[in-house]
Amino acid sequence: MAYLSIRDLSVAYRSRHGRVLAADRISLDVEKGGSLGLVGESGCGKSTLATALLGLLPKEAEVTAEALDLNGESLLGISAERLRERRWNEVAYVPQGAAVALSPVTTLHRQFTETWNAHRKEGRDVLLTKARELFQEVDLDPDWLKSFPHQLSGGMRQRAIIALALLLQPELLVADEPTTGLDVIVQRQVLDVLKRLQRDHDTTLVFVSHDIAVVAELCKSLAVMYAGRIVELGETHALLQAPKHPYTMALRRSFPDIRTPERPLLSIPGRPPALGASATSCVFADRCPFAERKCRETVPPLREVGGVNVACHFAESAGEMAEAFRSEAIWAEVKEV
C-alpha cells in the first residue's frame, strides 16, 4: 500500500470574489521512501495540495476527498489533537521563506528545544546531541545552534530549518519551494542535503517547485499541475524524455537547460483560466495549439498512456504533437488573451 494516497481531493477557497477551486479532483500515490515533485506555475494548486497534506489549510478552505491517507490512516476529519501528534512525528514541513519561519528572538537551540518539548515527553538529555548531529548532517557547524537566526546567511537558515524539520525523524518531508530565492551556489548546497537525506534515511519527499530542473534532479516521480488539475503524472525520466501532454511539452521548452545554453526558449501565449467551478473542459484547451472541439466540451481524465498518466484526449498522438512543437508557427494560432 502506498505511504501517501490521495483520491479525488478538491480544495476550494471561499473569498469575497466567490469560490476559487484551487485543487480539482487530485489523485496520486507516493510510496514509502519515494519522492514526488509537484511542478507548475503560480496558481496551479501545487502549494494548496502540499498544505492539505499537513492539515494546514486556512479555515476558509473547503476540503473534499474520497481518500487522503497517510501511512494507512486518514487525515480527513481527524481530531486537532491527533493531527498535532502526527505533525513533526510523521510529517514535517520546510517552507519557502526560511527567513520568516524561524523566530528572530530566540536562539536556534531554544527553537529545537521547544519543538522537542511540544511533541516528546522524555529524552531531553539526547536533544542536544541529536540537534548537533542534524546540524552536521546539513553541513552546518553545530556551534551555530547557539546563534540567533539573523546571524546566519539565507542558505544556512534554510539548512537549519531542514535540520529542525528532521528533529523528530518524520517519515514524510513536505518542502515548498525551499530553494527559491537562493543563489545557485546555496541552492546546490540545499539540494545536496535533500538528496543525501533521501539516500540515507529513506525519507519520503514531496517537493513543490516551479523549477523543473530542481524537481527533476530530486524526485523520482513528477506531477505536472495546471489550473488546479494534474495534467501529467509519472516517473520523472519517462515524463521528461517523452512528455505526453502539450502543457508539459511547452513547459519543458520554456525552461532553460544549462547544457544547451543557446536553445531558444518558448513563451506560451495566453494565461491560465480563472479557477471557478470544477472544470468542464480541458483546462489547457485555451492555450493549446492542438485543441479541438472535444477538448472544449469534455474533461480529459487522467489515464495511462505509454507508461505515464496523462490528461489529454490526444495523448496517443503525443509523438506527432512533439514533432509539431518544433515549429514556432504553431503558436501563432493561439491568441494572446
Binding site: 506555475e41 503560480s42 546567511s153 539565507g154 543563489d183 545557485v184 551556489i185 546555496v186 541552492q187 546546490r188 539540494l191 545536496d192 516551479h210 523549477d211 523543473i212 530542473a213 530542481v214 527533476a216 534532479e217 524526485c219 523520482k220 520523472t236 525520466h237 521528461l240 511547452a250 513547459l251 519543458r252 520554456s254 525552461f255 532553460p256 537547460d257 544549462i258 547544457r259 545554453p261 543557446e262 531558444p264 526558449l265 518558448l266 513563451s267 506560451i268 494565461r271
Partner: protein, 333 residues
Amino acid sequence: MSGTQSESILELREISKVFGRGSAFSGLFGKGSSEIKALDRVSLSLSRGKVLGLVGESGSGKSTLANIVLGLETPTEGHLLVEGQDLAAISRAARRNFRTRVQMIFQDPHGSLNPRFTVGRTVGEPLLVNGVSDAEERQKRVLAALEDAELRPAEAFVDRFPHELSGGQRQRVAIARAIILEPALLVADEPVSMLDVSVRAGILTLLRRLVDERQMAMVFITHDLSLICQICDDVAILFRGCLAEAGEALSVMMKPEHPYTRELLAAVPVPDPDYVAPDRMAPAFTTTAEDARQGCPFVVRCPEAREVCRSTYPASLELADGRRVACHNVKTS
C-alpha cells in the same frame, strides 16, 4: 549622439566601492575599522546595441555595481563614464539629464508599480517629471511605449490598474516606463526571476528586441547562468566585489577559465533525473581572512589554489578570444 556601432555607452574604469568608512554607525557599535569592500577595481565596458550579463552569488557586488551605474551610489575610487561623460565631472544640471539616460527595470513587478496608479499614469510619470507638460503628447507617447512593450492594443491597457494585469503584463508596463524617455542604457535586475516560467521567454525576447531596435545597451543582472546565453552578448562574473572572468557570453559558458565560473556552472540544476552533479571539490587550503585580503579573493573556496594565490592578487589577463580572467592558473597562451 550619432556615432559608430561600437560607440561606448558605459565604461567602468577601476571602480571600487567601500562601505562603512567613517559611517555614523561605526562609532555607535564600537567597531571603528569595519570596512566592507563591495567592489574592488572593476573595469567593464559596454557598447551600443549590446547586452552585458552580470553574474555572481549574493554578496558579490552585483547590486552595488548596478546602483553605481544608476548614479545612486558614488564610487569610492575609479571613474564611471556614461556615453563618454565622466559622471564625477559633470554639473548638477547635466546630472539631471544623466538620470534620463539610464533607466532601471526591477525584479518584482508587483512591488515596482504603484497599485493606485493606472498603467497610463505609471508609464507617463517620467515624462511629467521631465517637463513634458502637453497632456496630448504625453498620451501619444505613453501609447507608443505600451505598443512597443507589446501591450496591444495599448488603448485597452492605459486605464487599467496593476492588479488587473498578469505578472508578465506588469513587467511589460515596467519596461514601457523604462523606455519612454528613450534612455541609452537599461539596468535590469533579475527581471524574469519572479515571473512564471511560461512567460519568461517573452520578456527576454522583448528586452533583446528593444535593445536591438533602439540601439540601447543593457546591463542584465542575474544569478541564473542558464539565462545568460538567451539574451547576453557578454558576461561578467563577479566574486566578492572582484571581476573573476569577463568575455563573450557563449565562449565563457562553453569553456569557463576561472574556477569560480566552473563552480557556478556546476551548481546549476539540470532538468534530467539521470544527471549526476559533479562533486564539489574541497578548497585546496584552509585559509584565513588575511589570505583572501592579500591574495586572490576566491582562494577561500578554490580547489585549484596554489601557494601564490594566498599571497598575491591575480592580475587580470587578456586571452586570445578577448576574455579577461583573473586567475594565477590561467596562462595567455
